[in-house]
Amino acid sequence: MKLDIRHIAKLARLEISEQEEQQLARDIDAILQMAGRLPENAGAQTGLEADRPAPLRRDICTPSASREALLANAPELRDGYLVVPKTV
């Protein structure tokens, strides 16, 4: 698939200038060319490894950071709620 930097930037929620667009396209294309030389089929894809089962933890409530502590880094708060630009 052809690399359409503008489209990709939109998906990634990034704004890029026309000047950046050309440079980024060149840089990313060079990396993709390197990736394009990988073997088409390097063997079957394996999933989770049976010898390394992920241990489950018990579903028990434990104390965590307070709401205030977690919200202390928010750029804008009003009455304990996050503020964003008007959406409707």
Binding site: M1, L3, I5, I8, A9, L11, A12, R13, L14, E15, I16, L24, D27, I28, A30, I31, L32, M34, A35, R37, L38, P39, E40, N41, A42, G43, A44, Q45, T46, R52, A54, P55, R57, A65, S66, A69, L70, L71, A72, N73, A74, P75, E76, L82, V84, P85, K86, T87
Partner: protein, 494 residues
């Protein structure tokens, strides 16, 4: 010798024999920080006041006759992508310049329990994406041996701090070589443990299937001490596992009878600098003369590792960094008209060029029409690399390679194309793709008198064996020299 230049092991012994106090150790390291920082810039944040309080507590405990925890009073630097409660954690990014975590990373909790004294937060490439520590918004870190050269990256601040005596040892993170490559460039030891052996709770995520917290120190035994203090299962990181018998330091440095060291010829050919290849092979022969056996092994898919790494790590980064949207924490652009522009402008103004490049690459390889051609293909190639390593370990106990293809390069070099820079990780990324432990050990100096590093890679959870082999090498060659600051520059009158 000044206290800042001593190893953690020696300082621990001196402290317990009352030959020095924790306050004296801290004072020595902070005076070193004041002397070196104008040239080096290894730290983003120095936490001297809190450190002196920690040191005073150690001294009180000692005076009261209490038993000291293992790392009591030892100054440790923390890479600024590991969360520290109440101390800003920036990832060297505008995005997190004002972020003050409400919690400590698991490794910081463990170090605090072990009595370590936190010197501050060390510089890095933005979001740990880079190999030179130049993409920090706070400005680059310099190589302590030669200020005109990079310290490597992304844990360049940690490596420079340890090499210069601005910390006794330090934590970093290693996604594709970010502990080992700067360790090699600065002439210190760097360990990337097995995936899962250290909790990543509180490590700001870059590529979750590859990220691992790593250790940098001036001796192999100090590296082992630091690893021992932070390893182990933590329920808050589902990928972490309990390791059997984590007592590592006992017996380290003894000869390892009949050690079989795999030598993959693919790692000594191609673009490697001849002086680096020579130093690394000399190190291999030193071990051979002392009783190890060198075994040729084949890692034919090693040349795929770099491409696999950049596809997979960027894909995961694009997903992990989607959380930075200017809403809950992190940078928010001013005066946005609507939510869409809040997201786009906050991200565009908050992230630097390299981070954006990787987010875009990652978004592309995961997008409809590209996923099979790039992402899934890279995953299969990565698994083949892991299989090859496992096959090689049937023939040998560990694999010895160069850590990097050349020694530290100039501050102004490799800025044209990102690929030029990526190549410096070509020998380190495979261990991350395969989840294997890997250790970089200084092994002499290149033609430009900058340090060269050899890398030992072992089977999963073979840290004890890797550290044992490295400590044996250290015993054979003597302690790794701590260079005078800017030694190269002074010698050459530049």
């Amino acid at each position: 010798m000044e206290l800042y230049a001593q190893t953690a092991e020696t300082l621990g012994r001196m402290l317990r024999r009352r030959e020095c106090s924790a306050m004296e150790i801290a004072a020595s390291v902070f005076s070193r920080i004041r002397a070196c920082e104008p040239d080096l810039h290894a730290y983003i944040t120095v936490t001297e006041a809190a450190a002196l309080e920690q040191a005073a507590k150690v001294d009180e405990k000692l005076a009261a006759g209490g038993k000291l925890p293992p790392l009591a009073g030892i100054p440790v630097g923390i890479k600024d992508n590991l969360c520290t409660k109440g101390v800003r954690t920036t990832c060297a990014s505008r995005m997190l310049a004002a972020f003050v975590p409400p919690y400590d990373a698991a490794v910081c909790e463990k170090l605090a329990e072990a009595g370590a004294v936190f010197t501050g937060k060390t510089n890095l490439d933005e979001f740990a994406m880079g190999s030179s520590s130049r993409s920090s918004i706070y400005g680059p870190t310099k190589n302590p041996l030669d200020f005109a050269r990079v310290p490597g990256g992304s844990s360049g601040g940690s490596a420079a701090a340890v090499a210069s005596g601005e910390a006794v040892f330090a934590l970093g993170s290693d996604t594709g070589g970010s502990v080992r490559q700067p360790a090699a460039y600065c002439g210190v030891v760097g360990l990337k443990p097995t995936y899962g052996s250290v909790s990543r709770y509180g490590l700001i995520a870059f590529a979750s299937s590859l990220d691992q917290v790593g250790m940098l120190a001036r001796s192999v035994r100090d590296t082992a001490l630091l690893f021992e203090a932070v390893a182990g299962r933590d329920v808050r990181d589902a990928t972490s596992v309990e390791m059997a018998a984590p007592v590592l330091t006992a017996g380290l440095g003894q000869p390892v009878e009949g050690l079989r060291i795999g030598i993959p010829s693919a790692y000594f050919e191609g673009s490697i600098a001849p002086d680096v290849a020579e130093r690394v092979m000399e190190a291999a022969h030193t071990l051979e003369k002392a009783g190890a056996r060198l075994v040729p092994v084949t890692l034919s898919s090693a040349h795929d590792a770099l491409a696999v790494y950049y596809v997979l790590s960027s894909a995961e980064a694009s997903s992990n960094l989607a959380r930075y949207d200017g809403v809950r924490y992190g940078y928010r652009a001013a005066d946005c008209e609507n939510l869409q522009s809040l997201y786009e402008r906050s991200r565009s103004e908050g992230f630097g060029d390299e981070v954006k490049r990787r987010i875009l690459l990652g978004t592309f390889v995961l997008s409809a029409g590209s996923r099979e051609a790039y992402y899934l293909r890279a995953q299969r190639a990565g698994q083949r690399i892991a299989r090859e390593f496992n096959e090689a370990f049937a023939l040998c106990d560990c694999i010895l390679t160069p850590t990097t293809p050349e020694t530290a390069f100039g501050m102004g070099e490799k800025l044209e194309s990102p690929l030029d820079l990526y190549v410096s990780d070509c020998y380190t990324v495979a261990a991350n793709l395969a989840g294997l432990p890997a250790l970089s050990v200084p092994c002499g100096f290149g033609a430009n008198r900058m340090p060269a590093g050899m890398q030992l890679v072992g089977p999963r959870f073979s840290e004890r064996a890797l550290l044992g082999a490295a400590a044996w090498y250290e015993t054979l060659c003597g302690p790794f020299p701590m260079p005078a600051l800017g030694e190269w520059r002074d010698r050459h009158g530049v």
